[in-house]
Point group: C2
DNA sequence: TTACAATCACCCCGAAAGGGGGATATTTTA
DNA sequence: TAAAATATCCCCCTTTCGGGGTGATTGTAA
């Protein structure tokens, strides 16, 4: 076990200039040591166990196995490492995929060097750094449509539908009649112009009604 | 229309000491003006339109209408205002409710004054500030359980169940037989020890399997 | 190489649920 | 006051659901 009081960092990034740039910027910080850098996941997979990094800076756009697919595999090889995703693209889906796969944080490449260094520290301390762009996106993803055509009750019913509940289960849960649930659902279908549970949920989620 | 180049801030917080403390700390910053402070939503509702704030600091724990319920109502009165939630509790549900109701950010009360001031600036510029605790929680909420008992296919099927899809709809979507979907679902039920869609989804979501 | 998990597919059955159609009454809110 | 929200009831037919059981193929880990 290596027990120096530096944070061991590995960088996986295919662009040589960016890779060396980050390595230089982070390496010169006291308290950090770049133990290795790799141009692809395949390269990293062979050696990274010996590197024993505490933090991995991982690019999304990699040749071969991309960052998102690499993430769970890296976690399997070095389970204790925190992974910081570093990318130029801040697409909603990518971010959520990365977080779902166990990324500890997500930074866009326009982040300043000091921001990145600060983020590594935060990650190491168990925090979750997110650049402003990412935070904004996450917040947006949680924001309900304020002009929902659905009433409170209808929204409530549709949420339970989203939980896989049947009409009778919903009725019990809301202390209303089975037939009332039915008419709520009928009204939901009318308003959303659909005629099935799946379509109602799809439309509702697309428009952030639930 | 008021067109001074200061950020107009309103504070809604029932604790007088905290309220005045924030008012003082923020008011002395150049570029900020505390246009009003209120001890409850009810008080605020009467005057806040005239205050015309750009940023509202909103406490969650309020007498009468609580912060979460107040949020959409405030947004209705002053639609252009950014709302920053300020609370001692960082419970997962509260945060997500707040973000769903249109909060622009979420700060725990242990945040430093400078952090709060900085957050107001970020919010005004369209960013989404989140304190470390919150970011960590949000990230955690996105993180899938890496030791899911469900296979890839089963996870996929269960996700479609969560979209309200019927067996036949799932079969079509995955290009497999209706009966195959059935056996996947049966295996899911076995593994999760449930016997209905609703329970499967509940267990799966609780354990972050989907 | 053996054994197990995963994926796929098929059969029977009865009960439950879903969706289309329609009507009506009370309360809340704009 | 009129519209929207909420609640309840009826008919009908089709689909879906979940329980039971069986078995083939593939891939992978022990």
């Amino acid at each position: 076990m290596i027990t120096e009081d530096v944070i061991r960092v590995v960088i996986i990034e295919d662009d040589e200039i960016i890779r060396n740039g980050y390595a230089f910027l982070i390496g010169k910080e006291s308290g950090f040591r770049i133990v290795n850098t790799y141009a692809s996941f395949e390269d990293a997979a062979l050696n990274i166990k010996e590197d024993d990094p505490e933090v991995i800076l991982l690019d999304i756009e990699l040749p071969g196995t991309n960052g998102i697919d690499a993430l769970p595999k890296l976690k399997k090889i070095v389970p204790t490492a925190f992974v910081l995703i570093l990318t130029v693209y801040d697409s909603e889906k990518l971010i959520f995929d990365a977080l779902a796969s166990g990324a500890s944080g997500y930074l866009t490449k326009n982040s300043s060097a000091s921001k990145i260094v600060e983020s590594i520290r935060e990650v190491k301390d168990g925090g979750g750094p997110m650049s402003i762009n990412i935070a904004r996106m996450v917040i947006k993803s949680f924001m309900r449509n304020q002009n929902s055509p659905l009433s409170k009750r209808e929204t409530q019913v549709l949420e339970l539908v989203g939980n896989g509940k049947s009409r009778s289960q919903i009725a019990k849960e809301l202390f209303i009649d089975l037939e009332t649930v039915r008419s709520h659902i009928k009204n939901i279908y009318l308003k959303l112009d659909v005629n099935s549970r799946a379509d109602a949920l799809k439309t509702a989620r697309l428009n952030k009604l639930i």
